[in-house]
Amino acid sequence: MYGKGRIIPALILFLGLMTSPMWYKSGDAGKMPKPEKPKDYTECVAPAQYMRTSHMVLLNQWRDDILREDGARIGKTANGTEYVRSLQNGCMKCHSDKKKFCDTCHSYASVKPYCWDCHLQPKEAM
């Protein structure tokens, strides 16, 4: 191959530079988000693992059930505590600080839900 003495080292250098961000961060998962849990409440509407993965599904189910089917607005946790099936009036009653709860994971995962374009977050957290 013509000019292999220059091409191959240049290619290696190019690949090394291109992948440098990966090498730089290899073996480091980054700082895990630590959403602040409410202090006065210990039980959520569903198990924590389900809430972590599927809270958005639950919110959509609540919305469709209540808006379209006139579903119950009050739910009960496994231990029998009543809660309001609503983001604004239910979730945010316990998780009253959006910045310390919602935003920590959402910014880590780089998701931008548009809940707060319409729903109002608790005043003290704004």
Binding site: R63, D70, Q88, N89, Y114, C118, L120
Partner: protein
């Protein structure tokens, strides 16, 4: 040989026709009715007996003439609890409940030789919550729909802001958010004076309208406007399908009119003039 070929061609032709016609025939037979007309017909021959609730309202205009300012109080109460923005100009106006002159509320009625008192008489008006809502038929995303209790409701999450419903509504009961309702005007005054933390706002680019206070009915309260007008008995709210409800009794004993009944939307709002 010839006759066999003829038979083959006949069978092939029939098969082809059946193959083409069958799917469309099935579709016609199995197709459901359009959503907007799925509810029980309000009148007409062989109408099904009404089942379930159908919320409606009687607006006693006389009571509002006797109590000037009451209509405005109703509007304020409604717009405050529902975070309805006030953009400060007619063009961008958002209205769930509003006051309009008699000749604009009932343009199809003859205005000829009417008493002077009727000319420009302010009348409170709102979404008719039609039995056959044209807005529901027009909505391409099912963002607006008719609930089992007769309320024509909206899911703002699904609204794409196409404004077909606004074109379809014959009563002008729908408003479009041309501007961000959470924003401020040039003087720094927020469009929503005091946000009600219990109810969401809307965002720019969606249509909104009266929801007959669905969220209040769910917790056993009456609509906000009805509550404000309750002392003067200006608004009577209730189940039109229940023959013993107050509203049914009022409708039985008083002469009422509806907005443009001839177009067949079957409004759930009735006016005593």
């Amino acid at each position: 040989m010839d006759s066999k070929r003829r038979d083959f061609l006949k069978i092939a032709g029939l098969t082809a026709i059946a193959g083409i016609a069958a799917p469309s025939a099935f579709n016609t037979l199995l197709k459901g009715e359009a959503l907007a007309s799925a509810g029980p017909a309000a009148s007409g021959h062989g109408a099904a007996a009404p089942t379930g609730k159908r919320y409606g309202m009687v607006i006693d205009v006389k009571k509002f003439t006797e109590n000037p300012g009451l209509a405005e109080q109703c509007v304020t109460a409604c717009h405050t609890i529902h975070n309805v923005p006030d953009f400060g100009n007619k063009k961008d106006e958002i209205k769930w409940l509003w006051v309009e002159s008699y000749d604009h509320v009932f343009p199809e009625h003859s205005q000829d030789k009417r008493p002077d008192g009727l000319k420009g008489m302010p009348i409170l008006t709102l979404c008719n919550h039609c039995e056959k809502p044209p807005c529901v038929r027009a909505c391409p995303t099912k963002a607006t729909f008719k609930k089992k209790n007769g309320i024509v409701a909206m899911d703002y999450h699904r609204c794409i802001g196409c404004r077909f419903c606004m074109a379809a509504c014959p009563y002008g009961a729908r408003s479009f958010n041309w501007r961000d309702p959470r924003g401020k005007d040039a003087n720094g005054r927020p469009f929503i004076k005091a946000e009600n933390p219990k109810f969401p706002t809307r965002m720019r680019g969606v249509v909104e309208k009266c929801n007959f206070c669905t969220e209040r009915l769910a917790i056993g309260q009456i609509p906000a406007c009805v509550e404000v007008a309750s002392q003067a008995k200006g608004l009577i709210f209730g189940d039109l399908n229940d023959p013993n409800s107050e509203i049914s009794q009022v409708l039985k004993t008083s002469f009422t009119i509806q907005r443009n009944p001839a177009i067949g939307t079957h409004p759930s709002l009735f006016y005593i003039i």
